[in-house]
């Protein structure tokens, strides 16, 4: 593998790690809320977060441009205040990966949390434990397998993100070309030997993560 291939691998790992960290925190919070609370519009919230799972990545990417582009809902005030835009940066790749990986975490973790026996949760309450203590010491440990499986799946999905990343971060060599984008470029320019190596490396990494997700996800339902 040459320097640019190593860069793509390192960038992909960096982007996927940052996105997974965000997915873990936000996804777990949303999953817990959806699993434990009853509120009006609950399924609409679930639908909104799950949408990137079924939308074409280009559509997700388009929405992200509307939000984070220089004239976007969030992008414009940030650009006006700092002169900086997240577009065409590695952070944009993190946002794209975060948005497409989030539904996997929410779906898996929600199912795991919902599968915890309600009597066990009530038992903790009747023993005098607060909702927070019960969540930390009872619910989350019992949903651990599903949460780990969701995290690993999210990482694998973030690693493989292509379409939305292309829309928001572009495909700038040495800057935003994550592995899937680098493979696309290599295949387009007929550099098959380099493409073969990157594809093989990528397949091994993704396969390893799926294997881990399967081990932890035995009890989790997607």
């Amino acid at each position: 593998m040459d320097g640019s291939a190593w860069f793509s691998l390192r960038l992909s790992l960096q982007v996927a790690s940052a996105a997974t960290l965000l997915v873990f925190v936000a996804g777990l919070a949303v999953a817990y809320l959806l699993a434990m609370k009853d509120f009006r519009g609950k399924e609409a919230v679930d639908m909104l977060f799950t949408l990137p799972l079924v939308l074409p990545p280009t559509v997700t990417g388009y929405y992200l441009i509307l939000l984070f582009g220089r004239n976007g809902l969030f992008g414009r005030p940030v650009f006006e205040a700092t002169g900086w835009s997240v577009m065409f940066t590695w952070q944009a790749a993190v946002i794209a990966s975060f948005v497409v990986a989030l539904p996997l975490m929410i779906k898996t973790a929600r199912a795991a949390i919902e599968s915890v026996d309600r009597n066990i949760i009530v038992a903790a309450y009747t023993l005098g434990h607060s909702r927070f203590t019960t969540a930390v010491k009872v619910i989350l440990p019992l949903a651990k397998k599903g949460i780990i499986a969701g995290t690993v799946l999210s990482f694998a999905r973030a690693m493989g993100e292509f379409g939305a990343t292309l829309m928001l971060a572009g495909n700038i060599p040495g800057r935003t070309d994550t592995m899937p984008l680098a493979i696309y470029t290599l295949a387009g320019s007929g550099e098959w030997s380099s493409a073969h190596i990157l594809v093989a490396v990528f397949t091994v990494i993704s396969g390893a993560f799926l294997y881990i997700a399967n081990i932890y996800g035995k009890k989790a339902v997607i």
Partner: protein
């Protein structure tokens, strides 16, 4: 210490409307399945809300509607042993019992939990998980865990239904001893007349969401007020012969 319950709740196809009071004694809620016994417990524990009524424990209002008091389960100072025990499967026996305790003094909690382990004959099982011990041992863990909270009343929802006869007798004896030691209201649900006769100071008979008779086991068995009670105690003859029930 008195547990006073006077509650009602209307659900589709079922109405619960009961009123009873239990002092420092062992009372049994007796009746067929689906009569509203477990629902009453859930309302006393604060995990289900009655439509109206009053629940007090030791003169403290736990629930009152229409006035609006509705303490959370955490605030009710009750020990509640569920029918399925609801032990925490990821915690060991010792951790399960300790989880019932509160306070920052770890040593004190450990000491208290160890005392309960000895008291409930669980020594040697501290490091095992609930799935690794027998049904009777699980029952004892659930009871010990409930007692770690220093409850002012104990609710036991069909705690012995899954146990073999010898273990069941042992557990009944243990509950009786606990009630006498702590001198708190202990209310137990059963639909087994044998069990009710053997353990209860007082029986409260439920039928279709109502209390149809309350009294000592002898009063209930000898003088059933209603046809439903008569039906419930109809197999007492066999128990009389075995001297299990007053006749």
């Amino acid at each position: 210490m008195t547990l006073q319950v006077s509650i009602s709740k209307v659900l589709p196809g079922f109405t619960l409307d009961v009123s009873w009071e239990v002092g420092n004694e062992l009372a049994v809620l007796f009746g067929f399945s689906g009569a509203g016994k477990s629902m009453t417990f859930r309302m006393i524990a604060g995990v289900m809300v009655p439509d109206r009524g009053l629940i007090t424990l030791d003169n403290r209002v736990l629930f009152e509607r229409p006035s609006g008091t509705d303490l959370s389960p955490q605030e009710r100072s009750l020990g509640y042993v569920f029918q399925d025990l609801a032990l925490f499967p990821h915690m060991t026996v010792m951790e399960n019992i300790r989880f019932g305790g509160h306070g920052k003094n770890r040593k004190l909690l450990d000491g208290e939990a160890r005392m309960l382990v000895r008291r409930f004959h669980l020594s040697g099982l501290e490091g095992r998980f609930p799935s690794q011990i027998s049904g009777g041992q699980q029952q004892r863990v659930a009871l010990a865990r409930a007692l770690m909270r220093h409850p002012k009343a104990l609710l036991l929802d069909e705690p012995f239904s899954a146990l073999d006869a010898p273990v069941r007798a042992e557990m009944q004896q243990l509950v009786k001893e606990v009630q006498q030691e702590l001198s708190i209201p202990v209310v137990l649900i059963t639909h087994d007349l044998n069990e009710a006769c053997g353990i209860a100071d007082r029986m409260i008979v439920y039928s279709s969401g109502r209390v149809i008779q309350a009294g000592t086991p002898a009063e209930i068995v000898r003088h059933p007020f209603a046809a439903e009670v008569e039906q419930l105690v109809s197999y007492r003859i066999g128990l009389c012969e075995q001297k299990l029930c007053p006749c």
